[in-house]
Symmetry: C2
Subunit: 86 residues, 2 copies
């Protein structure tokens, strides 16, 4: 069953308090000085083949349902290479 | 500034109520019949070069801080190809 991955991140120009909290925790615990942003990753699995229409449909879902276009960007929609089935 | 992407998903054998809710919403609104799982995507940006030590450090952070190993798996740690700077 093919799986399509949709990645959503907060827009670059917006504050990301979750990411800031993680960066602060990493610095306080001596794990290094990183800038961190937290977004979402969705896996959509579907029966059948991945066609261009299916990908277009998933892109529409990513824009309309999985992300809030006011504050988030869909940064990636890609087909997951599946491990060979035993 | 190089960016490393960490992807975290709920373990396959566990229920994912958020994903189930999204799948239900897609089906009810006539957007298709998908299985959906929702996870997290982190971007860690750091000054300097991406070395093997840095990647090992980020993998440790992914396991210890960014994911809860009881219920989640780190599915991917990768360096983001950055757009060429103007």
């Amino acid at each position: 069953m093919p799986t399509i991955v949709v990645e959503v991140m907060p827009k670059a120009e917006l504050l990301d308090p979750q990411g800031k909290a993680i960066a602060g925790a990493l610095a306080r615990t001596g794990r290094g000085d990183f800038q961190v942003r937290q977004g979402k990753r969705f896996e959509l699995s579907v029966e059948g083949q991945v066609t261009d229409e299916l990908l277009a449909q998933v892109r529409e879902i990513a824009d309309d349902v999985l992300s809030n276009s006011v504050i988030e960007d869909v940064v990636n929609v890609r087909v997951l290479e599946t491990a060979p089935e035993a």
